[in-house]
Point group: none
Chain length 179, copies 4
């Protein structure tokens, strides 16, 4: 979807539907056969991007035996996906808490991320990580992960990206792990 880039670079109201339809190679009116309003369109785009992201994050997870392995994989998957799909990632960042994305959409989009809660749960259950107000921990982990990704996107990646992924994971892991 070309809409990701356009919306991210120009904002919601800064991106005319005519521009979206042109990028998409269809006529102006055609858009409105598929999305009743412009808001519906961006909400749909949001759900798509979120589900793309969710799929990328969980890739290969079932092969990992321990909680730490899973956590480390997801940590890296997030960063790698973001580096390869910067437009979708930045779109999600930009519109995550914008007034254009409805609560309903957010709810639907988040439903793809249920597996994260399960993994985290496993970590707590097996005693691998602390349980101080779990959800706070989850937020901190998630935001740290994103912070690394954003920094890489901003600075431009270099050849030691993988090292950095490991180092940042270790740092985070040391904070949350019991030992």
């Amino acid at each position: 979807m070309a809409a990701f880039k356009l919306f991210t670079e120009r904002g919601f109201h800064g991106t005319p539907t005519s521009m979206i339809s042109e990028e998409a190679g269809v006529a102006t009116g055609t858009l409105f056969r598929y999305f009743p309003t412009k808001e519906a369109l961006i909400n749909a785009a949001y759900v798509v991007a979120k589900s793309h992201m969710a799929a990328a994050l969980k890739a290969g997870i079932e092969a990992k035996p321990t909680f730490e392995d899973k956590a480390r994989l997801i940590w890296g998957n997030t960063i790698r996906w973001g580096l390869q799909n910067p437009e979708e990632f930045l779109f999600l960042e930009q519109f995550a808490s914008s007034p254009f994305i409805t609560k309903l959409t957010e709810k639907e989009a988040i439903s793809n991320f249920g597996f994260l809660a399960e993994v985290l749960d496993e970590g707590i259950r097996t005693g691998a990580i602390k349980d101080i107000r779990d959800s706070f921990v989850a937020e901190m982990i998630f935001s740290s992960n994103m912070a690394v990704l954003k920094k890489l996107l901003r600075d431009g990646q270099n050849d030691c990206t993988e090292e950095l992924i490991e180092a940042s994971f270790d740092l985070m892991w040391r904070g949350i792990s019991k030992r």
Copy 2:
């Protein structure tokens, strides 16, 4: 500034200048005596909010002797400021990397945060924290801090806010500290 709330809740293009002037209790034209364009207005608001935030973060810092004390104070200051000024905080979150805030504005706004770099430097110099690609660490700290604040704003605060601030700091601190 009433503009914080309006822009946050409705977006840049979703907030007519007439609405801003009405909230501000002046005529439409009056706005344009002080800000040449709507973009200039939001950029000015951004700088103001950032400097408010910076002032709040560093409050009381000179009285703290060690790096850890300083870090702990700033961590708490951030969260307390955000909880007391949710509109300004959310405004900053929303427009931090929007296309409406110019590079120049961002630069000016960031200039107020030089003290953070100094504090971090002290931490590294005195050997209190690790030096794995410091700037990444800074980003992770900052984003974790924000994550806690955002969660508190979303969920509504309760009486154990201070406890939570401490707990989250400890978690972060354990990750970054050498011992």
Copy 3:
């Protein structure tokens, strides 16, 4: 085009685009599908009026054998066209050297009047008229012609219009002819 009358009577900035579109029987926005800006619109109108005028001036010219016949015909054509299309004529007068008509437009508009130079050339070549700084003579002829037309429009025409056309031509002709 209704724009001729409106622009002439009210000036460029005194004529809102909404008024033009209303007169034209279309919606406000429709105007801007055909003309990117209001300035483009008035420039287009200018070119149209000029080409109408050019066509009227040269009507029947090829049937005239001598230079004097051609000159006399054009002299009359100008006046007759202006009397029948006062709105277009006054529009051209009003905006001929206004800041709204670009050099480019003027150039394009003038291109229709190449035949005038040819006719004048013939007059000089055949020795019918003097050659004192030809272009000045051309300007004087042209402006005299216009002056008669404007006076007729201002005073209202009467039944001896044709006589007057002849008389004024003779007067001008006597000035420029070699004998």
Copy 4:
């Protein structure tokens, strides 16, 4: 008056009163102590320019004995004045028949030109020029005179300006004189 240049180059509505007051070195409000409205201001400017012009045209006329001498002097005076005061001249040209100049103003402005009618009258009375619908002749003379001036302003004057003034007068004169 700086207003001449501004109005000519930018049009009536294109020239803010604030710009005029700035050029004049007074405050915005001050203008309105002297002219009730912007229209009153431009009308006053028009009258001033016209009277300047009238004064220039008649300069030295009483010393001239014959009609032809007077006519030749006025012809030259017009052109010389216009070349020395292009801003006022072009201002008059531009706004002569604009909707901003009221009939009353035009009437007042024209009152300064009574001497022209007298001179023309003398020409007819003494039998120096033809009497075919005198006012038309006057218009033609006047417009020819202006045409020469405008051409000179457009092309830039050179050292044979005086020659050209003579030549153009002769051409005109031959047209209107009885012999």
